[in-house]
Symmetry: none
Subunit: 212 residues, 4 copies
């Protein structure tokens, strides 16, 4: 339960100049991580790209893990926003599914490089496994709630376990994005979104609203 402190090891600059230097490091690190992966990324490559001495790195971050955390935090926030995209309660569920899927796919596309590395680091470090889990939970919990509501409205098979279904759909969407955008299987964006949306909706047996 004890959530790791995601700011651990990330030092806070005390001047405007320091703030800019930290930003430079973050940008350089993103580039290096995407290029070389976490394991092969060298601090000296990052500082060289940011045009500073290697020692300066430690003015702003305690370790490679720390700067990776900082880099990923931004990505995470992007995914968080995507997974929380407001759908407007008045819409049709199908439309909502599509909206959510599209937002997720877009966010994944924009950050595919770093998400690939996060996937790598998550297999190595429990800390980052937890981080990835968190963002996954947002998506899953949201789906679960939606399914519960639709079951309540009699529009979805009531025998299905909402949590289990939500987990499965989350797996489908997130892993499809991984295979497509990271591993490089060739698909066409619109087709992906339509297929995932359809499988999702039909999978849970979504029925049209019962009109009165």
């Amino acid at each position: 339960m004890a959530e790791p402190d995601w700011n651990e090891g990330i030092l806070v600059p005390r001047s405007e100049r320091g703030f800019r230097t930290q930003e430079r490091l973050l940008e350089a690190a993103s580039e290096i991580f995407v290029r070389d992966g976490f394991l092969d990324a060298k601090i000296t490559d990052i500082t060289a790209l940011a045009k500073m001495s290697s020692g300066s790195f430690y003015t702003y971050f305690d370790s490679k893990e720390a700067i990776f955390t900082a880099v990923i935090k931004k990505v995470n926030e992007g995914l968080y926003v995507a997974a929380s995209v407001p759908t407007g309660s008045s819409r049709d569920p199908l439309e909502r599914f599509e909206l959510v899927t599209r937002a997720y796919v877009r966010a994944y596309q924009e950050n595919a490089g770093l998400l690939a590395i996060l996937e790598q680091v998550a297999t190595i470090s429990p800390r980052f496994r937890e981080m990835r889990r968190n963002i996954r939970q947002i998506f899953r919990n949201r789906s679960e709630k939606g399914i519960r509501r639709l079951q309540g409205e009699g529009r979805v098979d009531p025998t299905l376990s909402p949590r289990c279904v939500a987990e499965a759909i989350t797996s489908m969407v997130s892993n499809f994005c991984y295979v497509w955008l990271v591993l490089g299987e060739d698909y066409e964006e619109e087709e992906v979104i339509q297929t995932l949306t359809t499988l999702w909706a039909s999978g849970i047996g979504l029925k049209p609203a019962v009109e009165s």
Copy 2:
């Protein structure tokens, strides 16, 4: 396309005794890989567990990658068999889906430890990325073929892209197993199998056979 040679680096013992020694190394390696992961697994730990000198390792394998390949090959074969489980053409599709899913889940359960490590190594090494991709393809291609046939029989929405759907279902099943059996989310086996089967079948809009 050029398939890596999965036997490269795995030396062939000349004697019966050598064969048994190699087996001992494989068993020890499985244990160490599961315990420490690929990166932290040390050759000396493997040889110590197999009760031999570190130098002897290279009589049987060329490298750490080679012995990992050998260890994973067995697992892979298990998954291959599972993914190829004969279903008997006469059966109902729903039953076939369930059978395939169950076989996959069982195989995953039996090898969860090493599959977790394969997941790790696949993020690091293209060679093993390819290996994992292969086994995934078996499952996906099979699904794709099934869907195509059902579309031909008019029992599944013909506008869906069979490949895309198959990829999505493969993602759903394989990633669910990962989250459940490797990351440790708590689910109940039978419920998982039923849920995945249902989502699969309903997702593609499977209709009862048209009786004549």
Copy 3:
């Protein structure tokens, strides 16, 4: 022979305010040196404790060695005073020995924390080895002179080498204090003083004054 300049590297503040700032640094440094030792003491810890920026340190001291010198100078002066405690020529030698021992013990007790660190630094730096030697010499030379006088008065064995005896007694007293007050062997103050005084006096075969 060339005595180091013990004020080298200690800058002289030009203002009253600067003077107080330097004092703050000295207090902070004492605390940090005692807590962490010389080697592990960090300039940033000292400045942080003194509530100023690390750069300001160099307005007042040239180096870590310089501030340590400044800190130790005070201690040294204390020991100097103790070792020079006036005994009044009229007293009984035994009483004088006790007075000197007591003064030394008191001074050591009051500064045990920093003297422990001086001991450390003296093993590392010739400069501080010299400093410690100086204070030791005061004690030793004084003893030596006393012994010579008593030998002249026929109250002490004339075959003993005054310098060698003085060195031995200095070793006994100073190292006892180190073992007791720094290393933490448990002794009772009064007992220590009496024992050292007795060993000293009896050791040199002190005889009662020859009355005429």
Copy 4:
């Protein structure tokens, strides 16, 4: 109370060849430690002097601390033997004191270089502080026992605390050796031994055996 494990970090070679290599390292390390001190001694200097690659060091020792422990253990054993020199119960106490002092001085002389470094390390590391304390205790405990016996025989002032006196004498002898043989104060060996022995014997008020 928990005695550190003095073999920790010292690996045991499994072959004759390894044993010789470890010896080579120990000899090289002694030389380097004496030349540069513990802090400035570099692993690469040791391996270079022993004519091997730097990595080989870690086949035999875990760290610089470990090899220093191994080097000092030998010295310690030498001092232990010296401090335990058998005196023959029949002798005169004065002769016994001289014998013990002489043995200690000799042992110190032979190992002065490394003992200087031990003194340095002891001020830095509790582990080695403990080691030095151990050897000191042997000497002190032995003195204490002797004094107790002589008090029992009525040949020594019964009001003196044996432990406190023994500590003082140990301080005198050991610190004199340090000042003389490490810091370089100029003394003549025989004079030192006689002076220390006399101060010791007279200090405790040793009386000739009461003849019947």
